[in-house]
Amino acid sequence: MNHDSYDDDYIRGILNGVKSIAMVGASPVNVRPSYFAFKYLAQRGYDMIPVNPGHVGKSLLGKPFVASLRDIDRPVDMVDIFRNSSNIMPAVDEALKMTPLPKVIWMQLGARDDAAAEKAEAAGMKVVMNRCPKIEYGRLSSEISWMGVNSRTLSSKRAPMPTQGMRLSLGRTSLSGGATAAADRAAKNRTDPS
């Protein structure tokens, strides 16, 4: 599995397939990226579970915080890890102990741990690293185009009516990888300076 760039179909398949997402490192502080992403994904219909031991007893947009993945009482399709690269492995180890096993491990923009990815993939999970699910959802629905962002998709079909934000569209043709070549190369050079 190449984790430097992902085919849109891979990302689209994940975002279409999962229904419940546990967000490790979710913050109740409304200027943190994890808060943005949590709220955005909740508004688009995902069953969101905030995981953060520092906020047990509180809730995030009506969803009670749990201290760890172990404390979740229902099946989770995806674990979205909002932690630094150095804190990924413990979260993946915990995810591996869940039953049923989550289908997807997603590491947030800026986070990458290839060893943890390998471990999760060996257990049959799909892995996405160094991406934001909010940005990817926005890009694949073309909603992010409202901000002048290059969605790297084309379509000659009428766009869906935006309601509470755009909905994920399957009818768009993706350019290769949905990635922007120069930006991806730069990101790779940062993680692998050789």
Binding site: K39, I135, E143, I144, V149, L154, S174, T180
Partner: protein, 428 residues
């Protein structure tokens, strides 16, 4: 299905545009509106807090403008773009994002005269100091680097001389200095040169020229390559530090590889105000659909006319990088294999007076201060676009007093040559 990359011409027609969800309109509608209703208070708060994608007010963004932005970002191979009222406005927004009073940037000496003025005078009053370097002497860029250097600025094809800049060599200097390389790609357009492929971190354009292409609308654009790491060394606090006006959001951390474009929008454009009009966005978008066809014709005509001028007895010299034997021909072959653009200069044996005489005798070429129109244009830079420079600076910038600048249009080249021929014929 395997993802595949469409070609440049397909992107020029389709990127960013989609049939309108409400009406099915296939052409991009002109959203001539100042503002946009919110669903509810929470939606409004989300938009203002940068938590949702969407429209608030046309000074910050507009749906017609957004299509233009995505299209140019796609053509340049960038992650995102921000359109502005003019190319000059784009430059102000870019530098305001990067520089604080007392900071410096390095700029190539060979630049559009308007940029030289902006950098020398207007920027000075903001405390942003320009250090000039010579694109013909690459070491001069390295020598100009100081601890206060925050960016390097060049033109891919320089105005007015049509000279080609060695983008990769200067990108290497920028990388070593840990600063972004900004490339003004106005004269080349992404059809001829894609600076991001050669190491540019930010690309700016005057959309007014070849991209819009019809001489009818002002516009500018900033393209984010998504390549620069703004978080390093706290050198660019606008991007790396919490923004008090957005309750402490850090722009780079939140928006990743399109953070620069977002910062230019939600800080630069919002606060400085040079928004592009929706109608201009529409006209420029329409122009971009035919960019590949126009650039082919512009370049074909320019080469034919440059070759004709070389052979003319009244002509002293022609400076066109597309001519074999030109000083910049090797760079043109490397960076712009599809053509060396359509703006170049030449000088007459009769000097300054003969140049002035030529301009007054032309019947098809229009004498005006613009380039990149469907129409062929002529100007005498030393007395107009570069008139505020002293003689030494004129020569260094490629606008010596005896030079005439042409911007070749897409008319029939035989008619353009006939016009130049009658204007150059003595005593007729």
């Amino acid at each position: 299905m395997t993802d595949r990359d469409p070609g440049f011409s397909t992107l020029a027609v389709h990127a960013g545009a989609q049939p309108d969800p409400t009406t099915g309109a296939r052409a991009t509608p002109i959203y001539q509106t100042t503002s946009y209703v919110f669903n509810d208070a929470d939606h409004a708060a989300s938009l203002f807090g940068l938590q949702s994608f969407g429209n608030i007010y046309t000074r910050i963004g507009n749906p017609t403008q957004a299509v233009l932005e995505e299209r140019v970002a796609a053509l340049e191979g960038g992650t995102a773009a921000l359109a502005t009222a003019s190319g000059h406005a784009a430059q102000v927004v870019v530098f305001q994002m990067l520089l604080k009073p007392g900071d410096e940037f390095i700029a190539a000496r060979k630049l559009y005269g308007g940029s030289i003025n902006q950098f020398t005078h207007a920027f000075k009053s903001f405390g942003w100091n320009v250090a000039w370097a010579d694109p013909d002497d690459l070491d001069s860029f390295e020598r100009a680097v100081t601890p206060r250097t925050k960016a390097i600025f060049i033109e891919s094809i320089a105005n007015p001389g049509g000279t080609i800049t060695d983008i990769e060599a200067i990108a290497a200097v920028a990388r070593k200095a840990g600063v972004p390389l900004i490339v003004d790609n106005t004269l080349a357009t992404p059809y001829l040169i894609r600076p991001i492929d050669h190491g540019a971190d930010i690309v700016v354009h005057s959309l007014t020229k070849f991209l819009g292409g019809h001489g009818n609308s002002l516009g500018g654009i900033i393209v984010d390559a998504g390549t620069f790491d703004w978080s390093k060394d706290n050198k660019y606090p606008m991007l790396s530090q919490p923004r008090p006006e957005y309750h402490g959001i850090k722009i780079q951390e939140t928006f990743g590889n399109f953070a620069f474009a977002i910062a230019c929008r939600v800080l630069g454009l919002r606060d400085l105000g040079p928004a592009i009009s929706p109608f201009n966005s529409f006209l420029i978008l329409t122009g971009i659909e035919t960019l590949p066809l126009r650039m082919q014709k512009h370049c074909e005509n320019a080469k034919a006319i440059a070759e004709w001028l070389v052979a003319h007895p009244a002509v002293a010299a022609v400076n066109y990088a597309g001519l074999s034997g030109d000083k910049y021909n090797n760079l043109a072959r490397k960076y712009a294999p599809r053509g060396a653009g359509a703006v170049f200069t030449f000088s007459l044996k009769g000097g300054y007076d003969a140049g002035v005489e030529l301009v007054s005798r032309l019947k098809l070429f229009s004498h005006l201060a613009n380039i990149g129109d469907t129409r062929s244009l002529v100007i005498h830079p030393a007395s107009t676009t570069h008139s505020q420079l002293d003689d030494a600076a004129k020569i260094k910038s490629g606008a010596a007093p005896d030079l005439v600048r042409l911007s070749i249009g897409i008319e029939d080249k035989e008619d353009l040559i006939a016009d130049l021929d009658q204007a150059l014929r003595p005593g007729s």
